[in-house]
């Protein structure tokens, strides 16, 4: 796993120690994900992860206290990756709102695909208020806000284009809930290629966009 690249000198150069730390975090995550995909979440021991990441088992806990921390970090990485992808994918930027939102959720699901068991395991825990992954948890807050800001921006773009009315924060919150619901559905989806999730996603997004455009439930 590559460490973050800094082309020009960053405004506040990070110390080598921080950089190394980040590199180790990434190495652990990569090792863990590889093992989850290969052996399954429940079969993977912390010992195996630390061995694969070439660190001492004790050190592992300095980085990630629980598997939820690992998951949190994983989502953080994925979110950053998706924001970056979205900003650079010209075709998706030009697409209609239902397609944009579809692409965002679908891309995340595709990335989660190989680690389904892992996601499923942390997902249930995440719904408990004591969990660090809980939508209202403070540890996850920063990341949640980053996500919400990103979605709010996407929706604001669509509003500027006249595709939907301006929804403000509420739209982003609504979408976040929908996103969670879709992940739940996806985890349970046993159809070939999880095509039921594709259909659900497509229908819901088209319906919602239409409803918003027409200003309410016109039936």
């Amino acid at each position: 796993m590559k460490a973050p690249l800094h082309k020009s000198p960053p405004p506040r150069p990070r110390g080598k120690r921080i950089e190394n730390k980040e590199r180790t975090r990434q190495a652990i995550l990569r090792a863990a994900l590889d093992l989850f995909a290969e052996k399954g979440f429940y079969q993977t021991t912390t010992r195996a992860i630390s061995r694969k990441a070439k660190i001492a088992e004790g050190t592992l806990f300095n980085y990630f206290e629980t598997k939820e921390d690992l998951a949190l970090y994983f989502f953080e990485q994925e979110l950053a990756q998706i924001v970056d992808w979205y900003q650079h994918d010209k075709r998706v930027r030009k697409a209609g709102l239902p397609e944009k939102l579809f692409a965002i959720i679908h891309r995340l699901l595709e990335r989660l695909g190989p680690y389904e068991e892992f996601i499923g395991a942390v997902y249930l825990r995440a719904l408990q208020p004591s969990s660090r992954l809980h939508p209202l948890s403070l540890s996850a807050q920063e990341q949640n806000l980053r996500y919400l800001r990103f979605i709010r921006e996407v929706l604001a773009e669509a509003a500027a284009e006249g595709e939907i009315p301006n929804l403000g924060d509420l739209g982003a919150y609504g979408f976040a809930l929908f996103h969670l619901a879709v992940i739940t559905y996806w985890l349970q989806d046993r159809s070939a290629g999880k095509e039921n999730t594709l259909a659900l996603l497509d229908r819901c997004l088209k319906l919602a966009t239409h409803t918003l455009r027409k200003g309410g439930w016109d039936w």
Binding site: R91, V92, A95, G96, P98, E99, F102, A103, H106, E110, S191, A192, G193, K194, E195, N196, L198, A199, L200, D202, R203, K206, L207, H210, D218, W219
Partner: protein, 432 residues
Amino acid sequence: MGLVKESSGAVHRGLRLGKLGLSITGSYLGYQAQNIFLGERQRDQRRRQFQTQSSRRIRAELGSLKGAAMKLGQLLSLQTQALPEEAIAELANLQMHAPGMHPTLARAQFKASLGKDPEEVFRRFEDEPFAAASLGQVHRAVTRAGETVAVKIQYPAIRAAIESDLKLLRSATLPARMTGYAPGDIIDEIQRGFLEETDYVHEARNIEFFRRELNGFDYLTIPKAYGDLTSERVLTMSFVEGEIISRFLERKPSQAVRDLIGTRLVELYYSQLHRLKTLHADHHPGNYLFQPDGRIGLVDFGCVKRINFDVSDLIRSCVGRTWRKGHKEAAHVLHLVFGPRVPYARARKMLPTLEALAASLYPEGKDADPLVHFGKAELLRNLAQALKKALRDKVTNPEFAFISRAELGLYSLLHQLNARVNVRETWRRCDC
């Protein structure tokens, strides 16, 4: 007697939903029903030729049916009122149209089914579809070897939607089934056909079958299926040139070309019945591609009907009107048409209808014009009346659910072509 009692509220709501271009209930066939009304704008031109009244009647007819029941209606034309022949043409042309997929969804579905992104298996893949297919859409692509192909991608989860629709249809038609107006075996047959259509691996096998069996017709092009680039939801086949009927007719082809194409279509039809005992049963106009010199491309082999009775015998009997010879002969013909379940006394009532059909397809007598003028729509009317009467008299045969669909589709195509065909002569060439 209708299969489904009209509920104006639900239909109204269905229409509103239809505007979304998708159905909230997840009902695929329900979506079809809405499409009739949706397509209105595009079909305005055609509809304008119809009388206002007849088009109003089409709506009334279709409005009382929903979803899969509507498809049943398409197959059986089951309303009690007289349907104008144009409405029959309309019914025959009703096609399954899945909601459109944006490029991201099409790609996602491609990958979900084939396990790879289009770019990984094709040299080039066009994001925008060039045609709508019955259950999805078709994209142009170029293989690694440089061949241009058509890639048909199915809208996700269609099969599940059809299954749940048919479940609904079964409960909705319970009264009709109990009274014998909508026999359960017909619904079974429709279910078999529809579900088969969702399996593209099966369709690829059909394509190979027809390609092999019909390769003697040099004017006919049937695509080649690429097995390694095909899965249940993705079908890759060679690209077939030609234009769909509406665009072809815009070029104002001569009567001679239209007659030639008409004759060829009839020839293909009889060849399938007699020699293949298997019928390409989806005569949607989009499945025929025409070229100005009269060549025909045939695509979409999702709906194929294998015939389980001696259809050659039946057609021979119709041409020769063998039922006039006596009870035994009449009973034989009626047994062929209606199967063993319908008693002779009831089936006998259909003889005048058979006479009428035979008269319009195989004119007899020295002075009769041997050509069938399909532009006149007489045949469509007769066929519609026959189906209606069969349903009213409860003399339906599931064997004919898809044969009727194919027949209606074929005659409607010939009607649009305004073709003149010597059907009897063409039949004689094929029945050997």
